[in-house]
Symmetry: C2
Subunit: 623 residues, 2 copies
Amino acid sequence: MSFRDLLLGKPIPTAEERQQKIGTLEGIPVFGLDALGSAAYGPEAALTLLLPLGVAGLRYIVPISVCIIALLAIVFFSYRQTIAAYPGGGGSYTVASENLGPFPGLLAAAALMIDYILVVAVGISAGVGALVSAVPSLLPHTLGLCLAILFLITLVNLRGVRETGLAFMAPTYVFVATLLGTIAFGVVKSVLAGGHPAPIAAPPAAASASVAVAGGWLLLQSFANGCTAMTGVEAVSNGVRTFRDPRVPNAQRTLTTIIGILIVMLAGIAYLAHAYGIVATRPGAPGYQSVLSMLVAAVAGRGAFYYVTIASILAVLALQANTAFADFPRVCRAVAQNSFLPHTFRYRGRRLVYSEGILVLAAIAGVLLVIFGGVTDRLIPLFAIGAFLAFTMSQAGMVGHWKRQGGRRSRHFMIINAAGAVATGITALIVLVAKFTQGAWVTAILIPALLALMITVRRHYRRTERELDAANALKLKAPERPLVVLAYEAWNKVAENALQFALTLSPEVHAVHVTAEDESCERLLSEWNSRVVAPLRASGMPEPKLVRLPSPYRAVLSPIVSYVLELEVAHPGRLVAVLVPELVETRWYHYLLRTNRAELLKAMLIGKGNQKIVVISLPWYLD
Amino acid sequence: MSFRDLLLGKPIPTAEERQQKIGTLEGIPVFGLDALGSAAYGPEAALTLLLPLGVAGLRYIVPISVCIIALLAIVFFSYRQTIAAYPGGGGSYTVASENLGPFPGLLAAAALMIDYILVVAVGISAGVGALVSAVPSLLPHTLGLCLAILFLITLVNLRGVRETGLAFMAPTYVFVATLLGTIAFGVVKSVLAGGHPAPIAAPPAAASASVAVAGGWLLLQSFANGCTAMTGVEAVSNGVRTFRDPRVPNAQRTLTTIIGILIVMLAGIAYLAHAYGIVATRPGAPGYQSVLSMLVAAVAGRGAFYYVTIASILAVLALQANTAFADFPRVCRAVAQNSFLPHTFRYRGRRLVYSEGILVLAAIAGVLLVIFGGVTDRLIPLFAIGAFLAFTMSQAGMVGHWKRQGGRRSRHFMIINAAGAVATGITALIVLVAKFTQGAWVTAILIPALLALMITVRRHYRRTERELDAANALKLKAPERPLVVLAYEAWNKVAENALQFALTLSPEVHAVHVTAEDESCERLLSEWNSRVVAPLRASGMPEPKLVRLPSPYRAVLSPIVSYVLELEVAHPGRLVAVLVPELVETRWYHYLLRTNRAELLKAMLIGKGNQKIVVISLPWYLD
């Protein structure tokens, strides 16, 4: 078993594809981590904005959460329909381009791609950030930890979608179980206590209010912040093809499970925050504690359960990136199918996943992590815009889809999707405006740049295709022998082999020899005459021509290239075949002893040549 | 003018070689900086070891210097004869290998090469060290300054030997003029004062003696330390060919001038140190001051002259490396001529210098500087051994040379060289023993390692040569057409071009197509039949065969490689020519959109192939 097999797993034949398909159980860790992880920061993000209101702010958290859950339900409903309508996957991109045209499709794709890149960087660094704030001695290793997690997730994803599902199952289900357990326990206690439960570990008292009444803009911003909890809803729709047959119901069941759990979590957290009077603490300030930490401590105390729950939250935060790894390559593949991205994104690697997309995502996210030193707080504002833009395009696309379907039921759905499109569009706008100066303007530059890139790529492919297009049948030509140029250094076995081949190609062979500094050509000429010319003349065969090329600047290759180019000009329409004998070493370190002239000569000929010049490698293998 | 021309100078044709030759004036900065720079640290190194004797130690500096100068004179005399005997250059290596055999020659070469590498690293970091101790604010930039100077010296040397001479003339001659001026002025003052001149700026008082009587071993070590002043004497002998005609007298005059100046400096410094009572201060300890600094201050005071002198000393220390840059590539070239080093060291670059050797030296010295952070004190003990080993081999070689010459005069010279060989051999031994535990053991490992490497290289070249050797004349074979395999993707202009060429090569053409995932081959087959088969059949020409290769693991190239290898096995003795059509992009960034399959396929075929498989690139140029 090679090291590569050990690291990435043995290659899987396409024929065994079925065994790589996943069900709901693996589907939740693969596609659901982004959405579920949102529960850990969505409510917190909303509550943080309500901080100026003090305890009074808690009054708003339940209605805001209701709005978010309602919007989430609409988007969920839309993607559930998308899965049925587009079982080939591709999600927002496919829906938008098929129903609204290629440009809106690309807009959705670009938005999603940027969203996914940011999810990876921000998700990993959020998990590591929470870890190092719990274990401060790890602080100097922040970037190293981020990159190690990135490497791990990349590696697991390269090993195939099924292995990914199995690998991340444990942290996912521990997270779901502990958080749902906390919520259930807390709700029961709260109901028994008539809505005013006594916390086991009391949360810190809220700071006094600095603002008396909540303005509309503040509430809108809080709502927009809380909407980050919705990112990741689209994930399943991009990967329908990875599900076991019957794939549509399987994918739908997975999506329903993920969103169902998420809604319970969001509702539960909002209710309990209100019931226990948990107000956010200011991030970065001394005494900061996350809302979930306070909540779990209030419901269950700071025992073993608390630590298991918090650990699983950290793990899920860091593993959110996994959803992006599942989806980014699939979006790239769908876009590359239409030639808007390099075709290499279309091919599945050894483990039946789109390895190229995985590697590109890891590389870009890795660069972001390095640039920001593993602390990506400044990227957070950029983060939800892409997702909401994609939601909007996708739902607008579904409106078009239902319109074309026609019928009463379709009109019903159409209205829901139209409402969803408007709501998510407005949310995208609110996020953009609210966060514009904090960095969201970067997205406003990145998305058009990515669009321009994709259009350029497509134009290039189209032009190449047009240029190569041959509508005609094969034109038969009189088979004319090429002019053969042979790079000749001295008489030896390599030269003999090359000459023998040259003579089978054509009677017109030019053996070119570049004379080195101070070289006297006596030996060269006498060998040529006795070893080459004599036997050929004796048997009446055509004789090759020995051409000695001077090299005033001591270059060993460019005189050959110039000679070939001149020859081609002097014989218009005639093919010139350049024979390059090449010593092949069996051990790599022997290459250090070679001048690598054969490789260089071939590259120069192809770089400076034209369609009438072909380059022939004649390898000679050393024992 | 391209950026490369601007940086490295325009290429110089071999025909204009004469204008690149140098005379004595440029020869001193090119070959003399190592030797002259030694004056700045040789006496200091000897005096430092006399420190335990306090003022009483000064009694020994004059006799020790006399010994060093005597040895220097013998070595000088030997190399002066070497220049005349071996006007082709190559110095110690050539002398030792021609007179003592290849192994002693390689020993001399290995010793010199290691010496030169160390001269570069130690020289530059000594200069920068002196600079940062004068301007402490530069201390954090030590490594950066070292690398900048290394880059500068490398660049100047790549621009040719003449430019190097001109570039470093100013610091060299300022150094010589100011130091000789100081010595002359000091000697005159001392003689006028009856041997007891009054210092203008008094040197610090010597510490009280910790040892009363100088032991023999202490004096030997002091002598050995002082002998570092002799490194660089061999430099001119390696580069005789760079001198203008008549080159032997010109080279000899250059060597005589360098050594003459050096002897005056060494004698003057020893006399003045004694006369002014200048005792070394402990390096690294507070209040450290170099001997030359104290001496110049004592003779001339701390005025403008002092600062000019000290600045020129710093410059010459840092530029000592230049001698290594002049000689290392020439030694490598001489060794490579005999195939003990890769042949690439034999070729002169665009400015008629051995660029490869310059770059290798810069790279190794750069790595050393980076590893030691620009402070190479720990390398100093390794430093003189190489030089003295080379001196010994070279003088022993000259003994052999004179022996073969015969005659009365030769016997005379032979005795001098034999004495020199013994003296330098003993000195090498003293240095090795005295410094063994301080790091000289590294040299004892490095030199044999380098020897082993050189012998391995030569063995590889010899084996290759034997393997390729063809004593016979060209064997004529019945010209048999090769089997042609054509990598075929779809019908387009590239495929048409490739098929046309394939048909000129052979009537047996296999067009191989790797079927992609889910590919239905209907279009492929219908196009093949209508566009290719139909016109060929109509004209009665042989039809190529379309071979569809399955790819269970989705690989696009390895099925082709396997097919080619199987075909070769099935047709023993028959050549298989693989045609690889290749799209050539006119803009480099378009390569990002390509899958680079053509390059990969060619590399795989050559890597896994055998002598019966030739690879043909058919470039197609996109507009």
